[in-house]
């Protein structure tokens, strides 16, 4: 009864299968997706209340505030990356498929970013307007988030994998992951600053691009190793 001749299933196919699956799941649990986004919006909107409505101050702080809020939002959403799959046993099955684990991890990270990172990128310019950022600042803010948030998801996947099923995992993951986010924060927020002061953000953005490349190559392996360790 074992049918011979399995369909040729490429790496790309495995990647697509995981992305499609996770996006379908996200579509059926839309509330989860929106919470990250609203968290981001609320945190950014709280700063003026704490600091005062002085526009000149707010304009200076805007890149940093938005970026820190993006860091926190992305970190909060990490818990969702693997833990549901861990609880219902689908993660276990994924580890036992003949597909290379880094590819599956990459698929999961990409889907996770589409759902939790991309919305931040899209809404950030709107929040920048609240802080009276000039147009070039808004553009660079969106671009830097577009390049930077995938790095956050990739690094975060390692932390999420390591803390899988660990008690207090949610707080722990922030301890592990936030220090590693620092370079992205520096160059992300720095780029917007540079664009606003007329220096040009090219250097910052290229470095963020380099981080993305490095994270794309290394993080799926490390996250895969983390998952295998956590499943033992």
């Amino acid at each position: 009864m074992n049918r011979a001749g399995s369909v040729d299933f490429s790496l790309w196919g495995a990647f697509r299968c995981i992305v499609a699956r996770d996006l379908t799941l996200a579509m059926r649990r839309r509330a989860d997706v929106l919470t990250t986004l609203f968290f981001f919006v609320i945190v950014v909107s709280l700063f003026p209340l704490g600091i005062g409505p002085e526009m000149a101050t707010l304009r200076i702080m805007a890149p940093g505030v938005v970026w820190v809020a993006a860091l926190l939002a992305s970190m909060l959403s990490l818990e969702r990356m693997f833990s549901a799959d861990y609880r219902d046993g689908t993660l276990e099955q994924m580890l036992l498929t003949p597909q290379p684990l880094p590819v599956l991890v990459l698929g999961k990270v990409f889907a996770h970013w589409l759902v939790s990172g991309l919305p931040l990128v899209l809404i950030a310019p709107l929040l920048g307007v609240q802080y009276d950022l000039p147009p070039e600042g808004l553009l660079i803010l969106a671009v830097s988030l577009l390049v930077g948030t995938p790095v956050l998801s990739l690094i975060g996947a390692i932390g999420a994998g390591l803390t899988l099923g660990v008690r207090g995992g949610g707080v722990l993951v922030s301890l592990l992951v936030l220090p590693l986010y620092i370079p992205v924060l520096i160059f992300g927020a720095g780029g917007v600053d540079a664009a606003m002061s007329g220096l040009g953000a090219q250097a910052h953005l290229s470095l963020l691009g380099a981080f993305l490349l490095g994270a794309l190559i290394l993080a799926p392996w490390a996250a895969g190793a983390a998952l295998r360790i956590s499943m033992e």
Binding site: M1, N2, R3, A4, G5, S6, V7, F9, G13, A14, C17, I18, R21, T24, L25, R28, R29, R87, D88, G89, T90, E92, Q93, M94, L95, L96, T97, P98, Q99, P100, L104, M231, E232
Partner: protein
């Protein structure tokens, strides 16, 4: 062929078993039984490569499964305590993803046939969360019909299944053994499989 030599399992402070040796040949079923906490699940998780043994080695066709990894996964299907079913996906979607990732044939007709054979006809498009515990496990077991693997490692496959479903799974196992497949399973129920050799390991 699956071979195990000098296997040792340690959980926390307790050594569950040590110096375990056995092999499973084509057409053989290995029934692992023992009381709760005797290390049945730990043994099965080691056999499928999820857990690392404290000592000893597991070989597939003479090579360590640690070094084979993905090549071993091509030939092995594991069915654990957790069914691995996503509540939000329909029975059909669940099966499709599982079969695709396992590298099986995921043509729609085949998937529907498999669900039909597992007694889920008419429920293919219901989200898994409205299915009963037993039905979810049937969806998960439908994988066995579609993944051309030689070795099945099944941890309590009969849990939550009704009498007809148990019969059907036993039928499935005997077909698999008849075709030269191998099965390692744990269950508290009596295994009644007409074809193939049934061997037993008792853990205590």
């Amino acid at each position: 062929m699956l071979e195990v030599s000098n296997l040792e399992c340690v959980r926390g402070d307790r050594r569950l078993f040590a110096g375990m040796n056995f092999s499973v040949q084509p057409g053989e079923l290995l029934h692992v039984h023992g009381p709760n906490g005797s290390g049945k699940t730990s043994l099965l998780r080691m056999l499928c490569g999820l857990a690392a043994p404290a000592e000893g080695e597991i070989r597939w066709n003479g090579e360590s499964i640690r070094s084979l990894r993905e090549d071993y996964c091509k030939e092995m299907t594991y069915f654990g305590h957790l069914a691995g079913i996503k509540e939000e996906l329909t029975a059909l979607e669940n099966l499709r993803v599982a079969v695709q990732l396992a590298g099986g044939d995921s043509a729609e007709d085949g998937l529907l046939d498999a669900l039909d054979r597992m007694g889920l006809a008419g429920r293919e498009d219901l989200p898994a969360k409205v299915l009963s515990q037993g039905q979810k496990r049937r969806v998960a077991l439908a994988r066995l019909l579609l993944c051309p693997t030689r070795l099945w490692i099944l941890d309590e496959p009969f849990t939550a299944l009704d009498v007809t479903a148990v019969k059907m799974v036993q039928q499935l196992l005997s077909e698999h053994l008849h075709n030269g497949g191998m099965v390692v399973l744990t269950t508290h129920q009596e295994v009644d499989i007409p074809a193939g050799t049934v061997r037993r390991i008792h853990l205590n």
